[in-house]
């Protein structure tokens, strides 16, 4: 990564390892009928195994467009990638064919989104949707896939997985749906999870549970996480490093303690100052 970073801590032992994901000089344009929107401009960032990188910004900052670019999920057209590389494990994902990328999606790199209902099929039972990921990516039998799916539902803290396996998404609460989506994302043991506003639609007590779950699972599986959020408090809670975006550009990046203690960019300072705090009472 080319951005400023504080000196490595004494316990750092991953510094020498190459990053798992490396976005280098990425630009994303949306070519509309009469105009071009430069959603992402020359963005560089990286994530290592076992690390959580938070990408924080307000609406229109380009944070989601950046995240969606990794698996080329921006609608295209109108989306084009005029410059940049997205290297995962050394391969440039932007240059892969659809077919090659299909083997990465959901297997090496998984995503969870803000609204589980846009991700879960309302007409399919929950368990089948979790098992489908494994059936698609690996040669496992139906029975093995079911067993793994039940284990995945159990792992994300869903009580009575046997019952939930047979239910439809509408029979589950918002928090349980979010857990199912996480189970779906993690069942194939991806090395990188991209979570786009995973708790924004949830009540605060449910948000707490989901954030704790993500942190626990990441630690357990030594997974890299890219967390997209507008909420600096969520960043403080979960991230090791943070990238602040504004109007398509990275304005600041660094270790989470460093950015919170000594924000270098004016926009970061304003964002921190504008975030309400409980201690204000």
């Amino acid at each position: 990564m080319t951005l400023d970073r504080p000196t490595p801590g004494p316990h750092e032992d991953r510094e020498g390892a190459p990053p798992l994901l490396e976005i280098d000089g990425l630009s994303v344009d949306f070519r509309l009928d009469t105009s071009v929107v430069h959603a992402v401009r020359d963005v560089s960032l990286d994530v290592r195994a076992g690390e959580t990188l938070a990408v924080v910004g307000e609406s229109g900052s380009g944070k989601s467009a950046t995240a969606l670019s990794v698996l080329r999920l921006n609608p295209s057209p109108p989306c084009v990638y005029p410059s940049g590389e997205i290297r995962f494990d050394g391969r440039d994902l932007l240059k892969l064919s659809e077919k090659e990328l299909g083997r990465v999606r959901g297997r090496d790199i998984a995503m969870v989104f803000q609204d589980p209902m846009t991700c879960l099929d309302p007409l399919q039972r929950v368990g089948a949707q979790v098992a489908e990921v494994l059936r698609h990516h690996t040669g496992v039998s139906r029975a093995q896939a079911k067993e793994a799916a039940l284990a995945a539902l159990d792992e994300v803290g869903i009580p009575d997985p046997e019952l939930r396996y047979r239910q439809y998404p509408h029979e589950l609460s918002g928090g349980l749906r979010q857990r199912v989506m996480i189970a779906t994302a993690l069942v194939a043991r991806p090395r990188l999870l991209i979570a786009d506003e995973p708790t924004t639609a949830l009540d605060v007590t449910v948000q707490r549970q989901i954030l704790d779950l993500l942190v626990t699972l990441q630690h357990k599986h030594d997974m890299a996480v890219v967390l997209i959020t507008h909420d600096l408090a969520v960043v403080a809670e979960t991230a090791d490093r943070v990238v602040v975006m504004n109007q398509g550009r990275v304005v600041e990046s660094g270790g989470v303690l460093d950015v919170f203690d000594h924000p270098a960019d004016d926009y970061t300072r304003r964002l921190l100052a504008a975030t309400p705090r409980l201690e204000a009472a």
Binding site: V204, T205, L211, V215, D222, L278, A281
Partner: protein, 292 residues
């Protein structure tokens, strides 16, 4: 509920503007859902009372009851000493002028085909016969201009349409509309939840400024306890249709008495990277997520 205890410590314990007494609302005919269950609460003139709770706790139903947009199954609402449930239609209209509402979503709470001038003037036209017709036009424009300036917008935007404005600007238009009849009470139902954090900060500042200048009373509905900490004089915590705790903001948010309030507060992510589970992990095994 412990209204007695809280009222004694309220910042402006003098005059009760709004009193809810034993309010109950059931929905459904056979299998009834009790959305609001025996809620009694006083709101004092000039204060900001925050109503907090998670989805489905009944906070929105409660605001509809206090505006009398819904009929309670039992209990009463009094505004400035008058029981809204017993008023005649013209009397109720007169009271309604004094209580206005600002809703969460500035996109759905405005007619996209109406100009800003008509949106802001609509309460005037509805409530005041003298504001109707051709002759009233010039005076309405002047009043709308004043209102727009009061909320930090340019008086010259009157002929434009809502889609031309950002979420924050639209929320300012909603506030201008709510102020048109010079109300005493504003019900603010998640007024900044749909806004970016930097825009939220400016709208919260505006609301505080208007309250100071106009002596307004706010019922501020929110699920965001950090926002509540910033704006509220008193806080009422709702769960399952009931008030579980009411008190001064500092007491409720710093020394909550009810376990549910504690649970809510503990769930709020701290704006401090040294707290939380990831920080604990970092401390336990520094290599897993080293700070660099």
């Amino acid at each position: 509920m412990t209204t007695e205890a809280t009222d004694a410590g309220a910042p402006e314990a003098d005059r009760v503007l709004l009193r809810l007494d034993g309010l109950r609302k059931e929905f459904g005919t056979r299998a009834t859902t009790v959305a609001v269950d025996d809620v009694s609460l006083d709101v004092h003139e000039g204060e900001t009372l925050a109503l907090v709770g998670e989805s489905g706790c009944g906070k929105t139903t409660l605001t509809r009851l206090l505006l009398r947009l819904l009929e309670p199954t039992a209990g009463s609402v009094s505004f400035d000493g008058r029981d809204l449930t017993t008023l005649s239609a013209p009397e109720l209209r007169a009271v309604r002028r004094q209580m206005q509402v600002v809703l969460q979503d500035p996109h759905s709470s405005m007619n996209p085909r109406m100009r800003i001038s008509d949106i802001v003037a609509e309460p005037l036209v509805t409530h005041d016969p003298e504001a109707r017709g051709r002759r009233a036009r010039a005076r309405n424009r002047e009043r709308v201009g004043e209102l727009l300036e009061a909320v930090g917008l340019d008086a010259g935007i009157q002929d434009r349409y809502p889609h031309e404005f950002s979420g924050g600007q639209r929320q300012r238009v909603s506030i201008a509309r709510a102020l048109a009849l010079r109300p005493r009470l504003l019900v603010l139902d998640e007024p900044t939840s749909a806004l970016d954090v930097s825009v939220q900060a400016t709208v919260l500042d505006l609301l505080a400024d208007l309250q100071r200048r106009l002596g307004l009373t706010y019922v501020f509905v929110s699920h965001n306890l950090a926002v509540v900490a910033q704006v509220a004089d008193r806080v009422a915590v709702m769960r399952g249709g009931r008030l579980v705790e009411v008190g001064e903001a500092t007491q409720v948010l710093r020394a909550p008495r009810h376990p549910y309030t504690r649970q809510l507060l503990d769930a709020v992510p701290a704006l401090d990277p040294r707290k939380g589970r990831r920080a604990a992990q970092r401390a336990a095994s520094p290599a897993a997520g080293a700070d660099r």
